[in-house]
Symmetry: C2
């Protein structure tokens, strides 16, 4: 997860103006919601004129679509990279998935909450495309859990339910985690790896509770 | 859970006009968000004039506050009733908690999502009061898991993290469950009871996977 983009939702290098607009949009929409936010609000927060914003994006909807699409693409890309690096062991692969899912969503807690609460504001065909990519992300978890069950490493009879619950609980940290709380992000990851392994009936862990 | 209010967010019998307004507000805000919804929109959806709405509520904020407050109060009340009926066994108590948390949120999926996405729109002091009640709900789960650990029924070394993850995954069903999907709400409850028990290191279950 080194080199992760922090609060920057973009998956690839973007012009300064564009990145600033997307960050400003996440901040303003997190406060007022998509429908409560105007193009002018976003431009003001980014320190630009509305005209300058329209140089980069045709509409508020295009700003939202860009935030959502880059977010899910970045998540998918990092998840695949983590799986590539995790080797063949289902335990290591599930641990890698939990780590990426938590750290990605903690890096941009406001963006995560926006991705959940403003999904309804995304227009077609972008919305359907976005949901398809979220389903892809879920299937990466499903495949790891199913593989672990098939190989006798995970004992759960509820592979698909466990897989979905793991994604929900790892994504959900963005709604409550506080960087000033008693656990660091890394400690949280270690504990959730252990919870996820317990849920799928994985082998008893070494002590990694952080 | 018999006699539950279905899509009606009210915890006690309300005048027809008031209940209709609250249901209309949930429906319109689920589509357009709090800030994208006007008092007129809510009144129109409820088949009333804006003037008639103001007879019941002083503002759009009061409508939202009423929805949120009644929702969390009803959840707390049903949860305490379920615990009272569950007896002393930590397994039975955790199963009761999972059942209430899931069925309550499935009964009003739009209201649940509103409660998550429009928390930011709730003004003080209502917001702080609401968060305190949500924390109370979490503590009911915390107490059951901690008691199970203390009595050696649950083996997890991560009681508080497991308790929070269980609340998040049970509440989260509102975001993805489809009544026309392959599982009924009851089957979902049985499977999540099993997952929750696995996460806390509970005893191996009888076959209750629905």
């Amino acid at each position: 997860m080194a080199g992760a983009a922090g609060s920057d939702p973009t998956a690839r290098p973007a012009p300064v103006g564009e990145a600033a607009i997307l960050q400003a949009a996440i901040a303003v929409m997190a406060e007022h919601g998509y429908h409560g936010t105007s193009v002018r609000d976003i431009a003001e927060r980014a320190g630009l004129s509305a005209g300058a914003l329209y140089h980069h994006f045709a509409s508020k909807q295009e700003v939202l679509a860009t935030i959502m699409e880059r977010g899910i693409k970045a998540l998918l890309s990092r998840t695949r990279t983590a799986l590539d690096g995790a080797g063949d062991d289902p335990v290591a692969r599930l641990r890698a998935l939990v780590e990426v899912q938590i750290l990605f969503h903690l890096q941009d807690q406001r963006g995560t909450l926006l991705g959940t609460s403003e999904l309804r504001a995304l227009e077609e065909p972008v919305r359907t495309r976005h949901l398809a990519k979220r389903a892809q992300q879920q299937r990466l978890f499903d495949a790891v859990v199913a593989d672990g069950v098939e190989r006798g490493v995970f004992a759960t009879p509820l592979a698909s339910e466990a897989s979905r619950a793991i994604v929900v609980m790892c994504t959900g940290v963005a709604a409550w985690f506080s960087p000033s709380g008693r656990l660091s992000g890394r400690q949280l990851v270690a504990r959730y790896q252990r919870l996820a392994l317990a849920m799928v009936g994985g082998p008893a862990p070494e002590d990694d509770t952080g």
